[in-house]
């Protein structure tokens, strides 16, 4: 089974949950920007949740799927269609025959994920299939997909075959069958001008002026076009330190918000460097990373401070929710 790229879209890359254990060698984590959506897409088709999927950005690709296949699309809504008919998201879809899966205009969010039962047959580099664009390694030949690329698909697991068998009887359209149930899409925000992001104060929070601390927690910040997989650059009130700090570089994390001397915060994301030398004002709660990466240039976000205890409680609650979905999908018929 294979998928052929007819049109690659703006930036379509193979990503799994990231490359861990090598940051001490300067190797960035990479991985899906919205790992929550990728995990759910995988569970919906019976894959292991850490299997690699396609991450599609703002303008999605057109893909020719060779034959009957089970797939799921999650994340931002890039208007997916099969041979011209709309395809539902957040649920398993069983395609009956060779078809063209085409993504169109971005209706909500920014990044969409496509998981295929069996997963993409991609060699692992440093235990991960994620594309590391700058170093040109991992994923599909170390780069974003291009026209005429052919992705091979592995054989589906037992779990996937069971879902396929159930959906084979259903005919939701001329070309595919899907379930009537679907997962809630809580992290895709419709009101893109007022997105609340929860943060925990970081090491240098108190080194900022009182005004800057208030502005950080009360004013909206706009996502600028200089935002990518490495980081989102924000514009808003310039954040100032009480006095200049002599910073010595140290490790940064997913969702670290650092403030360079121009006062415009940068949120560090999947392709962040391993080490950073700017003051860090806050850290985004892990559960809200998906919300951030589904915003696009022009959207506005504002920050709300929560405690470390609350952030951990939310994280564990969400992990339990994902576990429950895994169990429910395995039991459903």
């Amino acid at each position: 089974m294979s998928i052929t790229v007819i049109h690659p879209g703006l930036l379509t890359t193979v990503q799994d949950l990231g490359r861990y254990g090598y940051q001490k060698y300067g190797i960035i984590v990479s991985g899906a920007m919205d790992s929550y959506s990728l995990r759910l897409a995988n569970l919906l088709v019976g894959n292991k949740e850490g299997e690699a999927g396609l991450e599609m950005t703002l303008m999605g690709p057109s893909l020719e799927i060779e034959k009957d296949t089970l797939f799921a699309i999650t994340g931002g809504d890039l208007s997916p269609t099969i041979n011209g008919e709309p395809v539902p998201m957040w649920r398993p879809v069983y395609l009956h025959k060779k078809s063209v899966l085409k993504f169109g205009a971005c209706k909500s969010g920014c990044r969409s994920y496509l998981a295929v039962a069996g997963g993409y047959n991609i060699p692992e580099i440093m235990e991960s299939k994620s594309t590391y664009l700058r170093a040109g390694i991992g994923g599909f030949q170390g780069r974003g997909l291009q026209k005429a690329d052919v992705l091979q698909i592995k054989s589906p697991r037992e779990e996937s075959l069971k879902i396929m068998k159930n959906l084979a009887k259903k005919q939701s359209s001329n070309f595919f069958g899907s379930t009537s149930w679907y997962l809630r899409r809580e992290y895709i925000i419709k009101d893109s001008q007022n997105i609340k992001i929860r943060v925990i104060g970081d090491r240098q929070f108190h080194e900022f002026t009182l005004d800057s601390k208030k502005q950080f927690l009360n004013c909206p910040f706009k996502i600028t076009p200089q935002s990518d997989r490495m980081g989102y650059r924000l514009s808003g009130p310039a954040l100032k330190l009480e006095k200049p700090l002599e910073m010595i570089s140290e490790a940064v994390s997913l969702g670290t918000i650092q403030v360079p001397p121009d006062g415009n915060p940068i949120i560090l994301l999947a392709d962040r460097q391993t080490i950073g030398g700017y003051p860090k004002i806050a850290q985004i709660a892990a559960v809200d990373i998906s919300k951030v990466v589904q915003t696009k240039p022009g959207d506005k976000i504002s920050f709300e401070e929560i405690s470390l205890e609350e952030a951990e409680r939310l994280y564990i609650e969400r992990e339990k929710y994902i576990q429950n979905i895994r169990i429910a999908i395995n039991l459903s018929d």
Binding site: Y20, G21, Y22, Q23, K24, Y25, G26, I27, I28, I125, M126, R134, A135, I137, I200, D202, R203, I248, S249, E250, A251, S253, L254, G255, T256, Q273, T274, I275, Q283, I284, A285, A286, L308, E309, A311, E312, Y315, I316, E319
Partner: protein
């Protein structure tokens, strides 16, 4: 560089980094003694990761340990600790480890020799560095290749070493405008630092030469020629030796 460091500057402090990280700070000044403590902790954790640990990343003054808070809580054998914040559990684990660490154990660092073809098309700024320091080009090469450099950390790019111990006699400020592309293997100077670019990237360092060695080896384990704690020595090679070395690698 080996000015003495008083014990007050070696106090260990810990800070949370979100809900999945803890930063352990060993001092406030870049110093080989601080580095030795960092190295002792990372060596220990690499050999004995605690349940739920993901990885640790060392820097000049600190080690950041990343963990999965859910696993840390679930894998705690001590039931009483289960209700605690995972940060507090990890903090106690690390405090216990720190008490047992022997800072003198790793006093035999690995020495890695790196051949460098200095000057010419590979070292476009070699003459500038000489002029800036009012010495000859040969003296710059001699000083640069006679030093011993401690790898404080790897970062910025895959396999890129932050080296300490360069002589101030060859220090030079960064270029006013960075180059769009610094070729892989370039050896450069920026302020009091020297380093080698493992992959082609934009950068503002003064370039003095190039090495045929691959610092980033994505298909090998480990994927980096250097690791934190190594000692680097550079030695000069001719253009012919550079070319020959490249062929051998291929």
């Amino acid at each position: 560089m080996s000015e003495t460091i008083d014990n007050n500057e070696l106090t260990v402090k810990m800070f949370p980094i979100g809900e999945s990280g803890i930063l352990v700070e060993f001092g406030t000044k870049i110093h080989p003694d601080v580095h030795r403590r960092i190295k002792a902790l990372t060596d220990y954790l690499d050999a004995h990761p605690f349940p739920g640990m993901i990885e640790c990343v060392s820097a000049f003054l600190s080690v950041t340990v990343f963990y999965d808070s859910m696993k840390v809580k679930n894998l705690q054998t001590n039931y009483a600790e289960k209700e605690q914040l995972s940060y507090k559990i990890v903090k106690s684990i690390l405090q216990e480890i720190l008490l047992t660490l022997d800072y003198s154990a790793n006093n035999k660092p690995r020495i890695v020799e790196i051949p460098v073809c200095y000057g010419g098309e590979f070292g476009l700024d070699l003459e500038y560095v000489a002029e800036y320091n009012k010495i000859t080009v040969d003296e710059v090469i001699k000083i640069h290749s006679s030093g011993e450099y401690l790898v404080y950390m790897i970062g910025f790019a895959p396999g890129f070493p932050y080296l300490g111990g360069m002589s101030e006699k060859i220090s030079a400020p960064r270029r006013q405008s960075p180059r769009m592309l610094i070729p892989k293997g370039s050896v450069g100077i920026a302020g009091m630092q020297t380093g080698v670019y493992p992959i082609g990237t934009p950068g503002g360092w003064q370039l003095i030469g190039r090495t045929p060695l691959e610092l980033f080896r994505p298909n090998e384990c480990p994927p980096s020629l250097l690791k934190s704690g190594d000692i680097v020595k550079f030695y000069p090679i001719s253009y012919e030796e550079y070319e020959n070395h490249k062929e051998v690698r291929l």
